[in-house]
């Protein structure tokens, strides 16, 4: 197992960072945050064609480039740093992962190449009105009539559900939780964008009314695959959170060097310097939590993945929120304005904190998985 990054991985990070520095500037983020679609089609296309980011960890057999989770984690760290507005998380961390895990080769061959090429927009529709991420939270009903599956009910808080062509829907059948694929233009599908506090990541409600759906894998046996998908997504989200936190600290440090009070740069006061130092301690610790998860994923050790993923989400969620909040504090009044980007990070932190279940939920998952 490799616990550090190598030169090629450093190079990947550099390339992604410089791409995003050009295409996900603060102005871009603000423009796309205000845009109902919430992403830039041209940039999305270039991410796929020039950098291959959508398919980076998708195996070559399905049209991807077959890199590991370490590489994917690097990309997420960078998209988090740049606050990229795009359905990248929904598609790569949730939908592609769900397809990879769902024990349905035909579905993988059908859908993954489109995801890898950037053509297919997809997401995982899991949560319902109570926002639960556990198995019991899945109540949407799937029934079989005349040999074909149909869904009726609603999913909500679906990441980037407003623009997804392909919906991977967790639903309940008499034998348990199953995963279905639904094309968004199927009969009876209504997608409604939800106005979000964090405008950099969109959510939607999706209603199904007697909608035909394609069963993926075995009926009633989908939960382990979904759980594993969520574990992977937790680690990737953690990496994204680390990147966001690092950007927030960078902003604080840059400001602390130039902003003067009492005739001195505020960064020379320990009240501020120590705050920044604590932010870095938090970030480096979060990095360990996230990287530990990435390495576990690449090593493929299932027990370790379950633990590392819950740990990463519990820790990195809070770390990002803490750092994003301190960033506003370091900036004083200016940090509390709409014009300053500090709130964009705070809001992303807050929405990420609950995106896959709250830190408390993940702590409990961890406790259970550790046998505590």
């Amino acid at each position: 197992m490799d616990l550090t990054f190598g030169e090629e991985q450093d190079e990947l990070r550099k390339v992604v960072r410089s791409f995003l520095a050009r295409h996900s500037t603060e102005a871009d983020v603000r423009r796309l945050a205000a845009d109902p679609k919430g992403y830039d089609r041209v940039v999305w296309r270039r991410m796929a064609t020039e950098l291959g980011l959508q398919g980076i960890a998708i195996p070559e057999a399905y049209g991807g480039s077959g890199f590991g989770y370490a590489e994917l984690g690097i990309v997420f760290e960078e998209t988090g740093r740049a606050l990229l507005c795009a359905p990248y998380f929904a598609i790569v961390a949730l939908a592609a992962e769900a397809l990879l895990r769902c024990a349905d080769e035909a579905a993988r061959l059908a859908y993954l190449p489109g995801i890898a090429s950037g053509d297919t927009m997809a997401t995982l529709a899991l949560t319902e009105a109570d926002g639960r991420w556990d198995e019991q939270g899945i109540r949407l009903n799937a029934s079989k009539t005349a040999g074909s599956w149909r869904l009726t009910g609603a999913k909500t808080y679906v990441p980037d559900g407003h623009l997804s062509d392909l919906l991977l829907v967790a639903a309940r059948t008499p034998s348990g939780v199953s995963l279905f694929a639904v094309e968004s233009d199927a009969p009876g599908v209504t997608r409604t964008a939800l106005p979000t506090l964090d405008q950099t990541r969109k959510q939607a409600q999706i209603d199904f009314s007697d909608t035909p759906a394609r069963l993926l894998g075995t009926e009633g046996a989908a939960w382990p695959a979904i759980e594993r998908t969520l574990a992977t997504a937790s680690v990737l989200l953690a990496a994204e959170q680390v990147g966001g936190a690092a950007a927030a600290l960078d902003a604080s440090v840059a400001y602390a060097k130039i902003r003067e009070q009492y005739g001195r740069a505020i960064g020379s006061f320990q009240g501020i310097k120590h705050k920044c130092a604590d932010m870095l301690v938090e970030i480096e610790s979060a990095r360990s939590a996230a990287y530990g998860g990435l390495w576990a994923l690449d090593a493929g050790d299932e027990a370790e993945i379950a633990i590392a993923a819950a740990l990463a989400q519990a820790f990195c969620s809070e770390a990002f929120t803490k750092v994003a909040g301190e960033n506003i504090q370091v900036h004083g009044g200016i940090g509390f304005t709409w014009e300053h980007p500090a709130h964009l990070y705070l809001k992303r932190a807050k929405s990420s904190e609950v995106l896959l279940g709250t830190p408390s939920y993940h702590r409990e998952l961890l406790a259970t998985r550790l046998g505590i």
């Binding site: 440090v253 870095l280 301690v281 961890l366």
Partner: protein, 404 residues
């Protein structure tokens, strides 16, 4: 997560595991888990254990053979620390010389110094104390006032035959860990009387067994005579006992502190993990696992030790890959010391009133000792506040604190 660096190291690891299984028995086994960088408990047993290790050729694994080392690499050194900690062997009593002075001499010492001092360190024949701090110079180490002056006619017994004179040392050092056991001291002294701050300092090796050196134990809050104050009155040492250049002592000291803040964390973290496991066991016994508040804190404690482990592994992996360790190698000390204290508080809370009862003569159990001694971890090797300054100024590039 396991460290695995391939077959060659695996043989080394297996050899070590076997050796530990054979030798960590009897009285030594009874002192498993005892000790820490500043724990004076069970000194004699631990010293005997160090000698056992020495006899087994397990000290100075990466040191050159000509100085009594084993001539292996950093990898083996790291594997040793992990296996050692995994076996829960007693903390090495002579860690100070092995982990701090030794590397300092290897990096900056003269050939004569290496030949003279390294073998007895590895043989556990000479024990060392670190004399950096003074009553007026703790965090602000650059303000040390202990002075050393040349006496060109002197012939200190520490000098080589024709060393050409002595250093005469006057001043006071304090908080010297295991100072009462020291045969030798490495002290930071001012060799240029007119100098200011970190200019004009030198690192001197001074024999402790001489009339000019008076070492008095100071009782720490755990009731141990672990550290000491040292009065130097016309103490003498040879002219050739300066490590590095005269006037360059600050560099030497900072190098040593860098090592102290870095490597000593590696074995420590496995001890912390063991404490976290014990804490979970204790909570289970007490039926406390279902208390949601405690449960949360227990999980947080577990998260902390796991993060310490991954952080250390990142650093180790970077070192092994020949990369410069990242920021985490500097933030690790602050994180570990703070989180270890939280772990200790939680363990004491879980133990409840039973944790408040001790043995005769203020004899503490492992948990009590570990908790009390954890209060030093945010002070020694640079306090948490100083760590934050270092992180702020050196890693983040923030403006310096006002300094005289």
């Amino acid at each position: 997560m396991e460290l695995d660096f391939g077959p060659a190291v695996r043989d080394f690891r297996d050899e070590l595991r076997n050796w530990l299984a054979e030798h960590l028995v009897g009285e030594f086994a009874a002192h498993r888990g005892v000790g820490g960088p500043t724990d004076g408990a069970a000194w004699d047993v631990r010293l005997a254990w160090d000698r056992e290790l020495s006899a087994g050729n397990w000290l100075g694994i990466s040191w050159p053979r000509e100085y009594g080392g084993r001539g292996l690499g950093l990898l083996e050194e790291i594997v040793f620390e992990y296996e050692y900690a995994r076996a829960n062997a007693p903390y090495r009593a002579t860690g100070n010389a092995l982990d701090l002075l030794g590397p300092m001499l290897l990096a900056m010492g003269s050939e004569e110094q290496k030949k003279r001092f390294l073998p007895p360190i590895l043989a556990v024949e000479e024990l060392w104390g670190q004399g950096f701090s003074e009553p007026g110079a703790g965090s602000d180490l650059a303000s040390v006032r202990t002075r050393a002056e040349r006496d060109d006619g002197g012939t200190s017994r520490s000098s080589g035959a024709e060393s050409g004179g002595d250093w005469v040392v006057n001043g006071q050092k304090v908080w010297t860990s295991f100072g009462i056991h020291a045969d030798w001291l490495y002290v930071l002294v001012r060799t240029d009387p007119d100098s200011q701050r970190h200019k004009g300092l030198s690192m001197l090796l001074v024999p402790a067994d001489q009339p000019g050196v008076d070492i008095r134990p100071i009782r720490n809050l755990a009731g141990q005579d672990e550290f000491a104050e040292i009065f130097l009155s016309d103490a003498r040492t040879g002219a050739d006992m300066v490590v590095g250049e005269v006037g360059q002592g600050w560099r030497t000291a900072m190098g040593t502190l860098g090592i102290e803040r870095g490597t000593t964390l590696l074995p420590q973290q496995l001890t912390f993990e063991r404490e976290a496991d014990a804490l979970i066991e204790l909570a289970r016994e007490r039926g406390a696992l279902h208390d949601p508040m405690l449960r949360r804190r227990i999980v947080d404690a577990w998260i902390s030790v796991r993060i310490m482990r991954t952080t250390n592994m990142r650093t180790v992996a970077e070192l092994v890959a020949g990369r410069t360790p990242g920021a985490q190698s500097t933030t690790a000390k602050l994180y570990a010391s703070m989180r270890h204290q939280q772990l200790g508080h939680l363990a004491m809370e879980l133990a409840g009133p039973a944790g408040q009862i001790i043995g005769e003569d203020y004899e503490l159990d492992t948990r009590q000792r570990s908790f009390l001694l954890s209060l030093a971890e945010t002070i020694y090797g640079g306090s948490s506040e100083i760590q934050r300054n270092i992180i702020g100024e050196h890693l983040l590039g923030l403006p310096k604190d006002p300094r005289p």
